[in-house]
Symmetry: C2
C-alpha cells in the first residue's frame, strides 16, 4: 500500500465484495483508508461506509468534507444515510444534506431524522415498492421498473388504497406467476403484519422473529404506509441486544470494545467496580461487628469466601433464568406466587445437597461439629435467600421499566455478598451462643 500503486490496488479490489474490503480497512490507518476510498467507485465507498463499525466510522466521517459525504449518501438507502448522519454534529448534518443532489433522497433522510434511532421510525427505510390496489399487474411492474434503482431488495410489493393506507402485500413470486391482465386487487394478500412508527426496535425484532418476516411495512398512526424495515437492520438490533445484556452481566457500563482507548475502557469498568468496592467496605464494617466472635473462633473467617461465592453464584443463576423468561414472554404463564414456590423448591433441592456436602467436608477436615453445623446451615439459608433475591430483583426492575438484565450482574452479587455475611454471622452467633 505504501508504494501507492493505484492501478494495482484498483484492479485487485475490482469485483471484491465491499464487505470484504471493509474488513481489510480495519488494518489500515485513516490516511491509507482515505486513499483506498479515492480509488474505488463511489457506490463501493458508500457500501463500505455503511458497513463500518460505529467508532471507526466516526473517525472516517471527520476526515471527509460535507460534499464528499453527500456523494456517498446518494448511493445509500435512506435509513443507512440517516444512521450516518446521526453520528455527526447537527451543523455538519445540515451541510451534508444541503449537498445531496437527489431531492427525494434528501427529503426522505430528513423525514427519518425526526425519529429516535431506537424506534421503528428510526429503523425503517423510505425506499419500497408501493402499488395501488386498483392497479393492474402491468402497472405494478412498470412501478418496479421505475424504482428498480432505488430499491435494492424488494421482498414484497406493498398494496395501499387511494388514501395511501396499507391494505396488504403481494410477493414477487405471485407477480411473476400472474397473467398480464390480472389486477392487484385479485391477488394481494390482505393479512399483512405491520408495525407503527413509534414501536420500539426490540419489539419490532420480536415481531419479525415471531412471524419469520424478512421485511415489515411501517405505518403511521393513521395507518398510512411510510416505510419498511428489512431483516438486516433487525439482525443488528438482535445482536446489539445480546451484547448489551452481556455487558450488563459483566458489569461494564458502556459499549466498549477491546480496541477502544485505555481511558474509555477504564471509565466503562470503574462504576461497577466502585459499587462492588463499596459493598465490600460495607461488608467489612458488618464483619467488624463480630470482631469478638472471630477472635474467639478464627475458623469462622475461613468460610467467608465460601458463603459469599455461593450466594453470588446462586443469585446470578436465578436472575438469569428470570431475565430469559422476561425476554420470551410467551414461554410461561405462571403467576408470581407459583414462580416463587418453584424457585424455592429448586433452592431447597440444591441447598440441601450443597449443605450436606459441606457438612461432610468440614467434619472430615476440621472435625468440628458446631463449625460444620454453622457453615452448612448458613449455606443452606444463603442458597434460599439468594435464589429469592435473584428472582425478585429482575421482576422488580422490569416493573419499573429498567432493563432486568442489570440484575444478573455485579448488582446482585454485591447484594448477595452482604446478605450472605448477615446470615452467616447471625447463624454463628446463635449456634455458638456467643
Amino acid at each position: 500500500l505504501n508504494e501507492q500503486d493505484a492501478e494495482f490496488i484498483r484492479s485487485s479490489l475490482e469485483g471484491v465484495n465491499p464487505a470484504d474490503i471493509t474488513a481489510l480497512l480495519y488494518e489500515f490507518d485513516a490516511e491509507e483508508c482515505k486513499y483506498v476510498f479515492s480509488l474505488l467507485p463511489k457506490e463501493v465507498d458508500a457500501a463500505i461506509l455503511n458497513d463500518l463499525e460505529d467508532d471507526l466510522r466516526e473517525r472516517f466521517i471527520s476526515e471527509f468534507s460535507p460534499e464528499e459525504l453527500a456523494q456517498y449518501l446518494e448511493h445509500l438507502d435512506s435509513d443507512d444515510g440517516a444512521d450516518i448522519l446521526y453520528q455527526m454534529s447537527i451543523k455538519k448534518r445540515e451541510e451534508v444534506i444541503k449537498y445531496i443532489e437527489n431531492e427525494e433522497k434528501a427529503s426522505n433522510i430528513l423525514d427519518l431524522l425526526r425519529y429516535d434511532e431506537d424506534v421503528a421510525g428510526g429503523l425503517m427505510a423510505k425506499e419500497l415498492i408501493k402499488a395501488n390496489i386498483n392497479w393492474t399487474i402491468l402497472q405494478c411492474i412498470e412501478e418496479i421498473r421505475k424504482q428498480a434503482e432505488n430499491v435494492q431488495k424488494i421482498y414484497s410489493v406493498y398494496v395501499v388504497d387511494n388514501l395511501g393506507k396499507l391494505v396488504g402485500k403481494v410477493s414477487l413470486k405471485r407477480i411473476i406467476l400472474a397473467e398480464d391482465g390480472v389486477k392487484i386487487a385479485d391477488i394481494y394478500d390482505d393479512t399483512v403484519v405491520s408495525v407503527e412508527t413509534y414501536m420500539e426496535d426490540e419489539e419490532v425484532a420480536q415481531i419479525m422473529q415471531k412471524y419469520d418476516l424478512e421485511a415489515v411495512p411501517v405505518v403511521n398512526a393513521r395507518g398510512k404506509l411510510v416505510g419498511r424495515i428489512t431483516i438486516d437492520d433487525v439482525i443488528d438490533v438482535i445482536t446489539e441486544m445480546a451484547e448489551e445484556e452481556r455487558q450488563m452481566m459483566a458489569g461494564i457500563s458502556s459499549d466498549v470494545e477491546e480496541d477502544d482507548t485505555v481511558w474509555m475502557l477504564s471509565k466503562a469498568r470503574l462504576p461497577w467496580l466502585i459499587v462492588g468496592m463499596v459493598g465490600g467496605l460495607a461488608g467489612a464494617q458488618f464483619i467488624g461487628l463480630f470482631k469478638g466472635d472471630i477472635a474467639l473462633i478464627p475458623a469462622l473467617a475461613f468460610f467467608i469466601p465460601l458463603i459469599t461465592a455461593t450466594g453470588g453464584n446462586v443469585g446470578i443463576q436465578s436472575s438469569s433464568i428470570v431475565v430469559q423468561s422476561l425476554a420470551n414472554p410467551n414461554v410461561f404463564s405462571d403467576g408470581l406466587l407459583r414462580r416463587l414456590m418453584k424457585v424455592l423448591f429448586v433452592a431447597v433441592v440444591n441447598g440441601v445437597i450443597l449443605a450436606l456436602m459441606v457438612f461432610g467436608v468440614v467434619m472430615l477436615f476440621n472435625r468440628n461439629e458446631p463449625l460444620a453445623a454453622t457453615v452448612s446451615i448458613a449455606l443452606f439459608s444463603v442458597v434460599l435467600l439468594a435464589s429469592f433475591m435473584g428472582t425478585i430483583t429482575p421482576l422488580v426492575l422490569d416493573k419499573f421499566g429498567i432493563n432486568p438484565a442489570l440484575a444478573s450482574g455485579p448488582f446482585i452479587t454485591t447484594a448477595n455478598d452482604l446478605l450472605g455475611l448477615a446470615v452467616y454471622f447471625s447463624v454463628a452467633h446463635l449456634l455458638y451462643n456467643l
Copy 2:
C-alpha cells in the same frame, strides 16, 4: 375451550396467523392442544408444530401417531421436517418417513438427516429454485411456476451449469424486469456468496450477517448446489448463541427455562454451584494456614469479601471483553503482547483509583495504617492479576477449541477468589512481618 364448541373455535381461529395460535397453545395442556389441532387445517397445524419450542414440541410429538406426523411434514420445508425428526427416536423417525406420501419430500428429508444439526448441511432446506445457465427467462419462469407450491419464499433463483455446479444467481427483480427473449446467461450475477455443507452454523451466521444475505446457497465439496439456508434459520442460530453464552456466564450447565421441572432446573444449576463450593472449601483450607495471623489481627478477616468480590468483578469484565473480541474477529488485529499491555494499563488505572479510595476509607473508619496499606496494596495486586487471568483464560480456552464464554462465568470467579486470597494474605504476612 372446555365446552368443546368446535364450530366456535374453528371460526374464531380462521385467518389468524399460525404464530399467534402457537402463542395461545402454551396456555393449554396437551389434550386441549390436540383437540385444537384436530379442528385446524393440516397446513396450519404444520406451521404451528414448526413454531413450537423444542421441549413443548417433544411432548406434542409423543401424542401423535407416525401417520399423523407424516401428514404434517408434507406441509413443511425439508429442513423444518428434519428438525422435527431429529427430536424422535430413530425407530419413530423411520416410521414417520415411511408414511410421507410425497416421495421427493421424503428423500429430501432423508438427505438432510445425514448431516449434523449444527452444520450448514443440517441447517439448509432442499427446496429452492434452480435454473440452468443456458435457459431463457421464460424457461426459468416455467420452473418457478412448477416449484411455486414447494418453495414458499424464493429470494433468488440460483444458476447452475450442466453439471449442477453453482455459478451464480438471479434476483426475482431482474427476472421481472427482463425482456422475454433474454437468456439467464445474459443477466445472472456471477459473484454469489455460498457456503459448504460442512461449515459450522455459527460461521454461516457470521457470513450471512457480514454480507447482509437473506438466503445463502449451500454447495457440496464438488461445488454442486445442494440446498439453501434462509435468514429465519440463521436468526435462530444467532439467538441460541446469545442464550448459550448467557447461560455460561450465569453458570447454568444446560439449556433450561423457567417452566422446566424443579429437578431439571436443579440439575442444570448444581454442577457450577459445586465447583464454586469446592473453590470455597479450598479457600477455607488456605485461610486456615493464616489462622494465627487472624487470631492476632481479626480485622484482616473483615476485608476478605472486598478482595474476593473485586477479583471476581474485574475477572468477569476482562474476560467478557475478550470473548466479545473473539466473536467479532475483524474488529482488532493487535498481537497478544500488545493486548496484554493494554489490559495491564487499564488494570493499573482502575487499580490505583480503587486502592486510593479503599486506603482513604479504611484510614477514616479504622485509623489503622498497616491495615489500610495491606488492604489497598492487596486490592491493587488483585485487580492486576484478575485482569490478567480474565484476559488469558478465554484466549487459552479458544485455542483449545472450547467456547471462551465459559471463562466469563463462575469458573473465573472461583479462580480469582483463590488468587485474591493468596495475594491478600501474602501481602498481610509480609507487611505485618508475621
